[in-house]
Protein backbone atom coordinates (compact mmCIF):
# COMPACT_ATOMS: atom_id res chain seq x y z
CA UNK A 1 0.00 0.00 0.00
CA UNK A 2 1.20 3.48 -0.81
CA UNK A 3 1.14 6.28 1.74
CA UNK A 4 0.05 8.78 -0.85
CA UNK A 5 -1.40 7.95 -4.21
CA UNK A 6 -3.02 10.19 -6.79
CA UNK A 7 -4.71 9.02 -9.95
CA UNK A 8 -5.35 11.57 -12.70
CA UNK A 9 -5.89 14.22 -10.06
CA UNK A 10 -7.16 17.53 -11.41
CA UNK A 11 -8.30 20.77 -9.88
CA UNK A 12 -9.40 23.80 -11.79
CA UNK A 13 -10.37 27.25 -10.64
CA UNK A 14 -12.53 28.68 -13.38
CA UNK A 15 -10.54 28.23 -16.56
CA UNK A 16 -7.18 27.77 -14.86
CA UNK A 17 -6.07 24.17 -14.35
CA UNK A 18 -4.04 24.44 -11.16
CA UNK A 19 -3.50 20.69 -11.06
CA UNK A 20 -3.84 18.83 -14.32
CA UNK A 21 -4.06 15.03 -14.51
CA UNK A 22 -1.46 14.33 -11.86
CA UNK A 23 -0.63 10.74 -10.93
CA UNK A 24 2.10 9.73 -8.53
CA UNK A 25 2.75 7.49 -5.55
CA UNK A 26 4.70 7.87 -2.34
CA UNK A 27 5.86 4.74 -0.55
CA UNK A 28 5.40 4.22 3.17
CA UNK A 29 8.31 5.56 5.19
CA UNK A 30 9.67 7.62 2.33
CA UNK A 31 10.62 11.30 2.43
CA UNK A 32 9.12 12.63 -0.76
CA UNK A 33 10.00 16.11 -1.98
CA UNK A 34 7.49 18.03 -4.03
CA UNK A 35 9.16 20.78 -5.98
CA UNK A 36 7.96 23.42 -8.34
CA UNK A 37 8.04 27.14 -9.07
CA UNK A 38 5.53 29.49 -7.46
CA UNK A 39 2.06 28.73 -8.71
CA UNK A 40 3.06 25.37 -10.17
CA UNK A 41 0.30 23.52 -8.33
CA UNK A 42 2.18 22.43 -5.19
CA UNK A 43 -0.11 24.11 -2.69
CA UNK A 44 -3.25 23.03 -4.46
CA UNK A 45 -2.05 19.42 -4.43
CA UNK A 46 -1.16 19.56 -0.76
CA UNK A 47 -4.53 21.14 0.04
CA UNK A 48 -6.31 18.30 -1.74
CA UNK A 49 -4.22 15.68 0.05
CA UNK A 50 -4.97 17.28 3.43
CA UNK A 51 -8.73 17.45 2.65
CA UNK A 52 -8.84 21.25 2.53
CA UNK A 53 -9.87 21.30 -1.13
CA UNK A 54 -11.94 18.90 -3.15
CA UNK A 55 -10.47 17.80 -6.48
CA UNK A 56 -12.39 18.58 -9.67
CA UNK A 57 -11.70 15.06 -10.93
CA UNK A 58 -9.48 12.08 -10.28
CA UNK A 59 -8.62 10.40 -7.00
CA UNK A 60 -6.29 11.01 -4.13
CA UNK A 61 -5.61 8.41 -1.46
CA UNK A 62 -3.74 9.12 1.75
CA UNK A 63 -2.80 6.20 3.94
CA UNK A 64 -5.21 4.13 1.87
CA UNK A 65 -8.24 6.38 2.37
CA UNK A 66 -9.87 8.39 -0.39
CA UNK A 67 -9.83 12.10 0.49
CA UNK A 68 -13.28 12.52 -1.02
CA UNK A 69 -15.13 9.63 0.57
CA UNK A 70 -13.20 9.20 3.85
CA UNK A 71 -11.91 12.65 4.82
CA UNK A 72 -12.17 11.91 8.52
CA UNK A 73 -9.94 8.83 8.28
CA UNK A 74 -7.47 10.84 6.21
CA UNK A 75 -7.41 13.56 8.88
CA UNK A 76 -6.76 10.93 11.53
CA UNK A 77 -3.74 9.68 9.58
CA UNK A 78 -2.00 12.95 8.80
CA UNK A 79 -0.05 15.73 10.38
CA UNK A 80 0.10 19.03 8.53
CA UNK A 81 2.71 21.69 9.19
CA UNK A 82 1.87 24.76 7.20
CA UNK A 83 4.23 27.18 5.58
CA UNK A 84 3.32 30.06 7.87
CA UNK A 85 3.57 29.64 11.61
CA UNK A 86 0.22 28.64 13.06
CA UNK A 87 1.11 28.46 16.73
CA UNK A 88 -0.88 30.72 19.04
CA UNK A 89 1.40 33.54 20.12
CA UNK A 90 -0.43 34.25 23.35
CA UNK A 91 -0.34 30.67 24.51
CA UNK A 92 2.76 29.02 25.91
CA UNK A 93 4.64 26.37 23.97
CA UNK A 94 3.14 23.67 26.13
CA UNK A 95 -0.40 25.05 25.81
CA UNK A 96 0.00 25.05 22.04
CA UNK A 97 0.94 21.38 22.10
CA UNK A 98 -1.92 20.64 24.48
CA UNK A 99 -4.31 22.25 22.01
CA UNK A 100 -2.79 20.19 19.21
CA UNK A 101 -3.10 17.00 21.26
CA UNK A 102 -6.79 17.66 21.91
CA UNK A 103 -7.47 18.57 18.28
CA UNK A 104 -6.01 15.21 17.31
CA UNK A 105 -7.85 13.19 19.96
CA UNK A 106 -4.80 11.88 21.78
CA UNK A 107 -6.13 9.88 24.75
CA UNK A 108 -6.05 12.00 27.91
CA UNK A 109 -3.72 9.72 29.86
CA UNK A 110 -1.07 9.90 27.11
CA UNK A 111 -1.13 13.64 26.43
CA UNK A 112 1.38 14.79 29.05
CA UNK A 113 3.89 12.06 28.31
CA UNK A 114 3.75 12.71 24.57
CA UNK A 115 4.18 16.45 25.06
CA UNK A 116 7.16 15.89 27.37
CA UNK A 117 8.79 13.56 24.86
CA UNK A 118 8.29 15.82 21.89
CA UNK A 119 9.52 18.89 23.79
CA UNK A 120 12.67 16.98 24.58
CA UNK A 121 13.09 15.92 20.97
CA UNK A 122 12.86 19.49 19.65
CA UNK A 123 14.86 20.82 22.61
CA UNK A 124 12.23 23.23 23.87
CA UNK A 125 11.63 21.68 27.30
CA UNK A 126 13.13 24.61 29.16
CA UNK A 127 11.03 27.17 27.26
CA UNK A 128 7.75 25.26 27.36
CA UNK A 129 6.05 27.60 29.81
CA UNK A 130 7.00 30.82 28.04
CA UNK A 131 4.46 32.47 25.74
CA UNK A 132 5.25 31.76 22.10
CA UNK A 133 5.42 35.49 21.41
CA UNK A 134 8.87 35.39 23.04
CA UNK A 135 10.12 32.59 20.73
CA UNK A 136 12.45 33.12 17.77
CA UNK A 137 11.40 32.13 14.24
CA UNK A 138 13.32 28.88 14.46
CA UNK A 139 11.78 27.96 17.80
CA UNK A 140 8.29 28.63 16.48
CA UNK A 141 8.98 26.44 13.48
CA UNK A 142 10.18 23.65 15.74
CA UNK A 143 7.03 24.00 17.79
CA UNK A 144 4.95 23.93 14.60
CA UNK A 145 6.66 20.74 13.49
CA UNK A 146 6.28 19.23 16.96
CA UNK A 147 2.55 19.97 16.80
CA UNK A 148 2.31 18.21 13.45
CA UNK A 149 3.86 14.99 14.70
CA UNK A 150 2.63 14.91 18.30
CA UNK A 151 -0.04 12.35 17.47
CA UNK A 152 2.45 10.31 15.41
CA UNK A 153 0.66 10.55 12.09
CA UNK A 154 1.31 8.01 9.38
CA UNK A 155 1.93 10.79 6.88
CA UNK A 156 3.44 14.15 7.78
CA UNK A 157 2.97 17.04 5.37
CA UNK A 158 5.61 19.74 5.64
CA UNK A 159 4.87 22.78 3.51
CA UNK A 160 8.05 24.78 2.96
CA UNK A 161 9.44 23.94 6.40
CA UNK A 162 12.41 26.30 6.29
CA UNK A 163 11.15 29.27 4.30
CA UNK A 164 12.24 32.56 5.82
CA UNK A 165 14.78 31.03 8.21
CA UNK A 166 18.50 31.75 8.29
CA UNK A 167 20.89 29.09 7.07
CA UNK A 168 21.95 27.95 10.56
CA UNK A 169 18.34 27.50 11.62
CA UNK A 170 17.53 25.83 8.33
CA UNK A 171 20.23 23.22 8.88
CA UNK A 172 19.02 22.68 12.42
CA UNK A 173 15.48 22.11 11.14
CA UNK A 174 16.85 19.59 8.63
CA UNK A 175 18.49 17.76 11.50
CA UNK A 176 15.19 17.67 13.37
CA UNK A 177 13.36 16.39 10.32
CA UNK A 178 15.92 13.61 9.88
CA UNK A 179 15.71 12.84 13.58
CA UNK A 180 11.93 12.59 13.68
CA UNK A 181 11.91 10.52 10.52
CA UNK A 182 14.38 8.10 12.07
CA UNK A 183 12.44 8.00 15.32
CA UNK A 184 8.88 7.67 14.02
CA UNK A 185 9.47 6.16 10.55
CA UNK A 186 6.49 8.02 9.13
CA UNK A 187 6.11 9.07 5.53
CA UNK A 188 7.06 12.70 4.99
CA UNK A 189 5.62 14.69 2.11
CA UNK A 190 7.57 17.89 1.84
CA UNK A 191 7.35 20.87 -0.46
CA UNK A 192 10.24 23.24 -0.89
CA UNK A 193 11.84 25.83 -3.08
CA UNK A 194 15.32 25.04 -1.85
CA UNK A 195 17.06 22.45 -3.98
CA UNK A 196 19.66 21.91 -1.29
CA UNK A 197 16.89 21.04 1.11
CA UNK A 198 15.39 18.51 -1.27
CA UNK A 199 18.83 17.07 -1.96
CA UNK A 200 19.61 16.76 1.76
CA UNK A 201 16.35 15.28 2.93
CA UNK A 202 14.44 13.52 0.21
CA UNK A 203 14.54 9.92 -0.92
CA UNK A 204 12.66 10.85 -4.06
CA UNK A 205 11.62 14.08 -5.68
CA UNK A 206 8.73 15.01 -7.90
CA UNK A 207 8.93 18.20 -9.91
CA UNK A 208 5.62 19.82 -10.83
CA UNK A 209 5.06 22.70 -13.19
CA UNK A 210 2.01 24.07 -14.96
CA UNK A 211 -0.10 21.68 -12.91
CA UNK A 212 1.67 18.61 -14.31
CA UNK A 213 4.31 16.28 -12.92
CA UNK A 214 7.44 16.78 -15.01
CA UNK A 215 9.64 14.09 -13.48
CA UNK A 216 9.87 11.84 -10.42
CA UNK A 217 13.13 10.21 -9.37
CA UNK A 218 15.83 10.11 -6.70
CA UNK A 219 17.96 13.27 -6.45
CA UNK A 220 21.00 11.18 -7.41
CA UNK A 221 19.43 9.78 -10.57
CA UNK A 222 18.18 13.18 -11.55
CA UNK A 223 21.59 14.70 -11.30
CA UNK A 224 23.15 11.78 -13.17
CA UNK A 225 20.53 12.06 -15.86
CA UNK A 226 21.66 15.62 -16.38
CA UNK A 227 24.61 13.89 -17.95
CA UNK A 228 28.16 14.84 -17.65
CA UNK A 229 30.36 16.41 -15.12
CA UNK A 230 32.77 18.86 -16.61
CA UNK A 231 36.51 19.03 -15.97
CA UNK A 232 38.29 22.14 -17.20
CA UNK A 233 42.07 22.14 -17.17
CA UNK A 234 44.84 24.38 -18.40
CA UNK A 235 48.48 23.38 -18.82
CA UNK A 236 51.88 24.62 -19.97
CA UNK A 237 52.99 22.67 -22.99
CA UNK A 238 52.79 23.21 -26.69
CA UNK A 239 52.87 19.55 -27.66
CA UNK A 240 49.44 18.51 -26.48
CA UNK A 241 48.65 15.84 -29.08
CA UNK A 242 49.90 12.90 -27.00
CA UNK A 243 48.19 14.29 -23.92
CA UNK A 244 44.93 14.60 -25.80
CA UNK A 245 45.04 11.13 -27.29
CA UNK A 246 45.90 9.50 -23.97
CA UNK A 247 43.17 11.43 -22.15
CA UNK A 248 40.58 10.36 -24.66
CA UNK A 249 41.45 6.74 -23.99
CA UNK A 250 40.21 6.97 -20.40
CA UNK A 251 36.95 5.00 -20.23
CA UNK A 252 34.94 7.59 -18.33
CA UNK A 253 35.79 10.44 -20.68
CA UNK A 254 33.08 10.93 -23.24
CA UNK A 255 34.23 13.96 -25.13
CA UNK A 256 37.05 16.51 -25.07
CA UNK A 257 36.91 20.05 -26.39
CA UNK A 258 40.32 21.51 -27.17
CA UNK A 259 41.02 25.20 -27.08
CA UNK A 260 44.79 26.00 -27.32
CA UNK A 261 46.12 25.22 -23.85
CA UNK A 262 42.72 24.52 -22.35
CA UNK A 263 40.85 21.22 -22.39
CA UNK A 264 37.24 20.76 -21.43
CA UNK A 265 36.46 17.13 -20.64
CA UNK A 266 32.91 15.77 -20.41
CA UNK A 267 33.13 12.83 -18.05
CA UNK A 268 30.74 10.58 -16.18
CA UNK A 269 32.66 10.44 -12.91
CA UNK A 270 34.94 13.38 -12.38
CA UNK A 271 36.43 12.27 -9.10
CA UNK A 272 37.76 9.11 -10.72
CA UNK A 273 39.04 10.85 -13.81
CA UNK A 274 41.08 13.55 -12.10
CA UNK A 275 43.75 11.19 -10.63
CA UNK A 276 44.10 9.56 -14.03
CA UNK A 277 44.67 12.95 -15.65
CA UNK A 278 47.52 13.60 -13.25
CA UNK A 279 49.08 10.19 -13.85
CA UNK A 280 49.14 10.87 -17.60
CA UNK A 281 50.43 14.42 -17.24
CA UNK A 282 53.25 13.30 -14.93
CA UNK A 283 54.24 10.52 -17.35
CA UNK A 284 54.31 12.99 -20.26
CA UNK A 285 56.03 15.73 -18.26
CA UNK A 286 53.13 18.13 -18.74
CA UNK A 287 52.61 20.74 -16.07
CA UNK A 288 48.93 21.31 -15.24
CA UNK A 289 48.32 24.92 -14.13
CA UNK A 290 44.69 24.69 -13.09
CA UNK A 291 41.91 22.17 -12.89
CA UNK A 292 38.25 22.42 -11.91
CA UNK A 293 35.37 19.99 -11.65
CA UNK A 294 31.77 21.14 -12.14
CA UNK A 295 28.94 18.80 -11.22
CA UNK A 296 25.32 19.28 -12.14
CA UNK A 297 23.28 20.40 -9.12
CA UNK A 298 19.62 19.86 -8.42
CA UNK A 299 19.24 23.49 -9.43
CA UNK A 300 20.27 22.49 -12.94
CA UNK A 301 17.78 19.63 -12.86
CA UNK A 302 15.04 21.95 -11.66
CA UNK A 303 15.78 24.61 -14.23
CA UNK A 304 15.89 22.02 -16.98
CA UNK A 305 12.37 20.88 -16.15
CA UNK A 306 10.78 24.17 -15.21
CA UNK A 307 13.05 27.03 -16.13
CA UNK A 308 12.21 29.39 -18.91
CA UNK A 309 15.34 31.36 -18.31
CA UNK A 310 17.59 28.89 -20.06
CA UNK A 311 17.25 27.22 -23.50
CA UNK A 312 17.13 29.09 -26.82
CA UNK A 313 17.09 32.81 -26.59
CA UNK A 314 14.31 33.38 -29.08
CA UNK A 315 11.82 31.11 -27.34
CA UNK A 316 13.04 32.06 -23.89
CA UNK A 317 11.49 35.50 -24.06
CA UNK A 318 8.10 34.21 -25.09
CA UNK A 319 8.19 31.52 -22.45
CA UNK A 320 8.97 34.12 -19.85
CA UNK A 321 6.02 36.21 -20.96
CA UNK A 322 3.76 33.20 -20.92
CA UNK A 323 5.00 32.36 -17.44
CA UNK A 324 4.27 35.89 -16.21
CA UNK A 325 0.80 35.64 -17.66
CA UNK A 326 0.15 32.35 -15.92
CA UNK A 327 1.40 33.77 -12.65
CA UNK A 328 -1.09 36.61 -12.92
CA UNK A 329 -3.87 34.16 -13.63
CA UNK A 330 -2.98 32.07 -10.61
CA UNK A 331 -2.60 35.00 -8.27
Amino acid sequence: MYSVETRSLSKSFGTVNAVNDVSFTVKAGEIFGFLGPNGAGKSTTIMILTTLLKPTSGHALVSGYDVMTHPKQVRQSIGYVQQESTVDEYLTGRENLLLQARLNHIPKDQINKKIDDILELIELSDKQNDPVITYSGGMRKRLDIAGGLLHQPKVLFLDEPTVGLDIQTRRKIWEYIKKIHKEFQMTIFLTTHYMEEADQLCDRIGIIDNGKIQVIDTPENMKNAMGNEIISLTFENENSEDFLSQLSQIDLVKKINKDNDKFTLFVSSGTEVIPKIFQISVALGIKITSISLTRPTLDDVFISYTGREIRDDDTGFNRKREHAKMKRLRA
Binding site: D88, R102, L103
Partner: protein, 261 residues
Protein backbone atom coordinates in the same frame (compact mmCIF):
# COMPACT_ATOMS: atom_id res chain seq x y z
CA UNK B 1 -21.88 13.11 20.40
CA UNK B 2 -19.22 12.71 23.06
CA UNK B 3 -16.54 13.70 20.63
CA UNK B 4 -18.56 16.72 19.48
CA UNK B 5 -18.66 17.92 23.09
CA UNK B 6 -14.95 17.23 23.60
CA UNK B 7 -14.02 19.02 20.36
CA UNK B 8 -16.28 21.95 21.20
CA UNK B 9 -14.58 22.17 24.57
CA UNK B 10 -11.15 22.13 22.88
CA UNK B 11 -12.00 25.17 20.78
CA UNK B 12 -13.79 26.81 23.72
CA UNK B 13 -10.64 26.34 25.84
CA UNK B 14 -8.44 27.87 23.17
CA UNK B 15 -10.70 30.91 22.72
CA UNK B 16 -10.84 31.57 26.46
CA UNK B 17 -7.04 31.23 26.75
CA UNK B 18 -6.71 33.87 24.08
CA UNK B 19 -9.27 36.11 25.78
CA UNK B 20 -7.49 35.79 29.10
CA UNK B 21 -4.29 37.07 27.52
CA UNK B 22 -6.00 40.21 26.22
CA UNK B 23 -7.03 41.76 29.51
CA UNK B 24 -6.73 45.35 28.34
CA UNK B 25 -9.53 44.63 25.89
CA UNK B 26 -11.88 43.78 28.75
CA UNK B 27 -11.76 47.31 30.15
CA UNK B 28 -11.90 49.04 26.78
CA UNK B 29 -15.03 47.11 25.92
CA UNK B 30 -16.68 48.35 29.13
CA UNK B 31 -16.28 52.01 28.25
CA UNK B 32 -19.08 52.24 25.73
CA UNK B 33 -21.82 50.58 27.79
CA UNK B 34 -20.70 52.59 30.83
CA UNK B 35 -21.21 55.78 28.85
CA UNK B 36 -24.64 54.56 27.80
CA UNK B 37 -25.75 53.85 31.31
CA UNK B 38 -24.28 57.02 32.85
CA UNK B 39 -24.99 59.54 30.10
CA UNK B 40 -28.27 58.27 28.62
CA UNK B 41 -29.50 57.01 31.98
CA UNK B 42 -29.16 60.47 33.51
CA UNK B 43 -30.00 62.53 30.41
CA UNK B 44 -33.38 60.86 30.07
CA UNK B 45 -34.14 60.80 33.78
CA UNK B 46 -36.85 63.39 33.04
CA UNK B 47 -38.80 60.79 31.06
CA UNK B 48 -39.83 59.06 34.30
CA UNK B 49 -43.51 60.07 33.86
CA UNK B 50 -43.54 58.36 30.46
CA UNK B 51 -42.17 55.19 32.00
CA UNK B 52 -44.64 55.42 34.84
CA UNK B 53 -47.51 55.82 32.39
CA UNK B 54 -46.97 52.24 31.30
CA UNK B 55 -46.85 50.97 34.87
CA UNK B 56 -43.17 51.10 35.73
CA UNK B 57 -42.51 52.55 39.17
CA UNK B 58 -38.98 53.81 39.68
CA UNK B 59 -36.15 55.76 38.10
CA UNK B 60 -35.54 55.82 34.34
CA UNK B 61 -32.02 54.53 34.94
CA UNK B 62 -33.51 51.44 36.59
CA UNK B 63 -35.66 50.95 33.54
CA UNK B 64 -32.82 51.20 31.06
CA UNK B 65 -30.05 49.42 33.02
CA UNK B 66 -31.24 45.95 31.92
CA UNK B 67 -31.29 47.31 28.37
CA UNK B 68 -27.63 48.33 28.65
CA UNK B 69 -26.73 44.92 30.08
CA UNK B 70 -28.27 43.40 26.96
CA UNK B 71 -26.54 46.04 24.82
CA UNK B 72 -23.23 44.81 26.24
CA UNK B 73 -24.20 41.23 25.49
CA UNK B 74 -25.29 42.12 21.93
CA UNK B 75 -22.09 43.86 21.00
CA UNK B 76 -19.66 41.58 22.80
CA UNK B 77 -21.16 38.55 21.13
CA UNK B 78 -21.81 40.01 17.69
CA UNK B 79 -18.20 41.26 17.47
CA UNK B 80 -16.81 38.08 18.98
CA UNK B 81 -16.65 36.03 15.80
CA UNK B 82 -14.17 38.34 14.11
CA UNK B 83 -11.19 36.20 15.05
CA UNK B 84 -12.60 33.55 12.70
CA UNK B 85 -11.23 35.75 9.92
CA UNK B 86 -7.78 35.89 11.55
CA UNK B 87 -7.85 32.16 12.09
CA UNK B 88 -8.50 31.61 8.43
CA UNK B 89 -5.80 34.02 7.33
CA UNK B 90 -3.14 32.80 9.73
CA UNK B 91 -3.57 29.10 9.33
CA UNK B 92 -5.13 28.09 12.64
CA UNK B 93 -8.32 27.28 10.79
CA UNK B 94 -6.50 25.00 8.37
CA UNK B 95 -4.85 23.31 11.30
CA UNK B 96 -8.23 22.65 12.88
CA UNK B 97 -9.79 21.64 9.55
CA UNK B 98 -7.10 19.03 8.85
CA UNK B 99 -7.49 17.51 12.32
CA UNK B 100 -10.20 14.94 13.02
CA UNK B 101 -12.50 17.36 14.86
CA UNK B 102 -15.82 18.18 13.21
CA UNK B 103 -16.43 21.52 11.54
CA UNK B 104 -19.51 22.19 13.67
CA UNK B 105 -17.50 21.86 16.85
CA UNK B 106 -15.25 24.72 15.72
CA UNK B 107 -18.29 26.97 15.30
CA UNK B 108 -19.89 25.79 18.54
CA UNK B 109 -16.65 26.12 20.52
CA UNK B 110 -16.26 29.69 19.36
CA UNK B 111 -19.90 30.48 20.11
CA UNK B 112 -19.81 29.07 23.61
CA UNK B 113 -16.59 30.94 24.43
CA UNK B 114 -18.03 34.18 23.06
CA UNK B 115 -21.22 33.79 25.08
CA UNK B 116 -19.32 33.19 28.31
CA UNK B 117 -17.12 36.23 27.65
CA UNK B 118 -20.25 38.21 26.85
CA UNK B 119 -21.83 37.23 30.16
CA UNK B 120 -18.64 38.25 31.98
CA UNK B 121 -18.73 41.66 30.34
CA UNK B 122 -22.44 42.00 31.06
CA UNK B 123 -21.93 41.11 34.72
CA UNK B 124 -19.34 43.88 35.00
CA UNK B 125 -21.91 46.33 33.60
CA UNK B 126 -24.45 45.03 36.07
CA UNK B 127 -21.87 45.78 38.76
CA UNK B 128 -21.42 49.31 37.47
CA UNK B 129 -25.19 49.79 37.42
CA UNK B 130 -25.47 48.71 41.04
CA UNK B 131 -22.53 50.90 41.96
CA UNK B 132 -24.21 54.04 40.60
CA UNK B 133 -27.31 53.31 42.63
CA UNK B 134 -29.60 51.20 40.48
CA UNK B 135 -32.01 49.47 42.82
CA UNK B 136 -31.90 45.67 42.57
CA UNK B 137 -34.26 44.17 45.14
CA UNK B 138 -33.46 40.48 44.71
CA UNK B 139 -29.74 39.74 44.38
CA UNK B 140 -30.49 36.02 44.13
CA UNK B 141 -31.72 36.74 40.59
CA UNK B 142 -28.13 37.35 39.42
CA UNK B 143 -27.55 33.70 38.55
CA UNK B 144 -30.68 33.26 36.40
CA UNK B 145 -30.06 36.64 34.76
CA UNK B 146 -26.57 35.53 33.78
CA UNK B 147 -27.97 32.24 32.52
CA UNK B 148 -30.33 34.18 30.25
CA UNK B 149 -27.48 36.44 29.09
CA UNK B 150 -25.32 33.39 28.26
CA UNK B 151 -28.19 31.80 26.34
CA UNK B 152 -29.01 34.99 24.47
CA UNK B 153 -25.33 35.62 23.65
CA UNK B 154 -24.97 32.09 22.33
CA UNK B 155 -27.61 32.94 19.75
CA UNK B 156 -26.07 36.28 18.89
CA UNK B 157 -22.57 34.85 18.60
CA UNK B 158 -24.09 32.54 15.99
CA UNK B 159 -24.86 35.64 13.89
CA UNK B 160 -21.25 36.74 14.31
CA UNK B 161 -19.81 33.36 13.35
CA UNK B 162 -22.08 33.16 10.30
CA UNK B 163 -21.05 36.61 9.08
CA UNK B 164 -17.37 35.93 9.77
CA UNK B 165 -17.43 32.58 7.96
CA UNK B 166 -19.18 34.10 4.96
CA UNK B 167 -17.23 37.36 4.78
CA UNK B 168 -13.88 37.17 3.06
CA UNK B 169 -12.58 40.41 4.54
CA UNK B 170 -12.60 42.46 7.73
CA UNK B 171 -14.35 45.29 5.89
CA UNK B 172 -17.29 43.12 4.90
CA UNK B 173 -17.53 41.70 8.42
CA UNK B 174 -17.61 45.07 10.15
CA UNK B 175 -19.97 46.52 7.57
CA UNK B 176 -22.53 43.76 8.04
CA UNK B 177 -22.13 43.60 11.83
CA UNK B 178 -22.65 47.34 12.27
CA UNK B 179 -25.63 47.17 9.97
CA UNK B 180 -27.15 44.46 12.19
CA UNK B 181 -26.12 45.39 15.73
CA UNK B 182 -27.50 48.86 16.30
CA UNK B 183 -30.93 48.35 14.67
CA UNK B 184 -31.47 45.14 16.64
CA UNK B 185 -30.76 47.08 19.82
CA UNK B 186 -32.87 50.10 18.88
CA UNK B 187 -35.84 48.01 17.72
CA UNK B 188 -36.38 46.71 21.22
CA UNK B 189 -37.78 48.06 24.49
CA UNK B 190 -34.23 48.50 25.82
CA UNK B 191 -34.50 52.29 26.15
CA UNK B 192 -38.25 52.90 25.97
CA UNK B 193 -41.30 50.71 26.56
CA UNK B 194 -42.87 49.02 23.55
CA UNK B 195 -46.11 50.83 24.33
CA UNK B 196 -44.48 54.15 23.49
CA UNK B 197 -43.21 52.98 20.09
CA UNK B 198 -45.33 53.69 16.99
CA UNK B 199 -47.38 50.63 16.08
CA UNK B 200 -45.35 49.62 13.06
CA UNK B 201 -42.08 49.80 15.01
CA UNK B 202 -43.60 47.88 17.90
CA UNK B 203 -44.70 45.20 15.44
CA UNK B 204 -41.19 44.89 14.04
CA UNK B 205 -39.80 44.78 17.57
CA UNK B 206 -42.01 41.79 18.33
CA UNK B 207 -39.99 39.78 15.79
CA UNK B 208 -36.75 40.73 17.51
CA UNK B 209 -35.30 38.26 20.04
CA UNK B 210 -33.64 41.22 21.80
CA UNK B 211 -37.13 42.42 22.79
CA UNK B 212 -37.94 39.29 24.75
CA UNK B 213 -34.53 39.15 26.39
CA UNK B 214 -34.78 42.77 27.55
CA UNK B 215 -38.31 42.24 28.89
CA UNK B 216 -37.28 39.07 30.68
CA UNK B 217 -34.15 40.51 32.26
CA UNK B 218 -36.00 43.67 33.29
CA UNK B 219 -38.70 41.57 34.88
CA UNK B 220 -36.07 39.60 36.76
CA UNK B 221 -34.40 42.78 37.97
CA UNK B 222 -37.45 44.89 38.82
CA UNK B 223 -40.30 42.44 39.10
CA UNK B 224 -42.45 44.35 36.58
CA UNK B 225 -44.09 42.46 33.69
CA UNK B 226 -44.56 44.65 30.63
CA UNK B 227 -46.85 44.44 27.64
CA UNK B 228 -48.48 41.25 28.85
CA UNK B 229 -45.57 39.13 27.64
CA UNK B 230 -45.00 36.39 30.20
CA UNK B 231 -41.56 35.24 31.30
CA UNK B 232 -42.33 31.76 30.03
CA UNK B 233 -43.09 33.04 26.54
CA UNK B 234 -39.85 35.05 26.54
CA UNK B 235 -37.81 32.04 27.65
CA UNK B 236 -39.44 29.93 24.96
CA UNK B 237 -38.67 32.47 22.25
CA UNK B 238 -35.07 32.89 23.41
CA UNK B 239 -34.58 29.11 23.45
CA UNK B 240 -36.04 28.77 19.97
CA UNK B 241 -33.80 31.59 18.72
CA UNK B 242 -30.71 29.96 20.22
CA UNK B 243 -31.51 26.54 18.77
CA UNK B 244 -32.09 28.01 15.32
CA UNK B 245 -28.83 29.95 15.50
CA UNK B 246 -26.84 26.90 16.65
CA UNK B 247 -28.18 24.89 13.74
CA UNK B 248 -27.75 27.67 11.22
CA UNK B 249 -24.25 28.62 12.37
CA UNK B 250 -23.07 24.98 12.27
CA UNK B 251 -24.49 24.56 8.81
CA UNK B 252 -23.21 27.83 7.31
CA UNK B 253 -19.81 27.55 8.96
CA UNK B 254 -19.28 23.99 7.73
CA UNK B 255 -20.33 24.99 4.23
CA UNK B 256 -18.18 28.12 4.10
CA UNK B 257 -14.92 26.71 5.49
CA UNK B 258 -14.96 23.97 2.87
CA UNK B 259 -14.55 26.67 0.25
CA UNK B 260 -11.09 28.09 -0.47
CA UNK B 261 -10.46 31.30 1.49
Amino acid sequence: MNSLLYDTYTIFWRELKRYRKSRSGVLIRLIQPSIWIIVIGNTFSGTQPLIQSVGFEGQYIEFMAPGVIILTAIFTSIFGGVNTLWDRRYGFMNKALTSPISRSSIALGKMSAISLISALQASLILGIALAIGVNFPNPLMIAPIMAIVILFSLGFSGISVIVAATAKSQETFWGVINFLGMPLFMLSPALFPLELLPDWLATIAKFNPVTYTVLLVREMMTGVTEGGISALLSIGIILAFVLVMIGLASYVFTREVNKPF
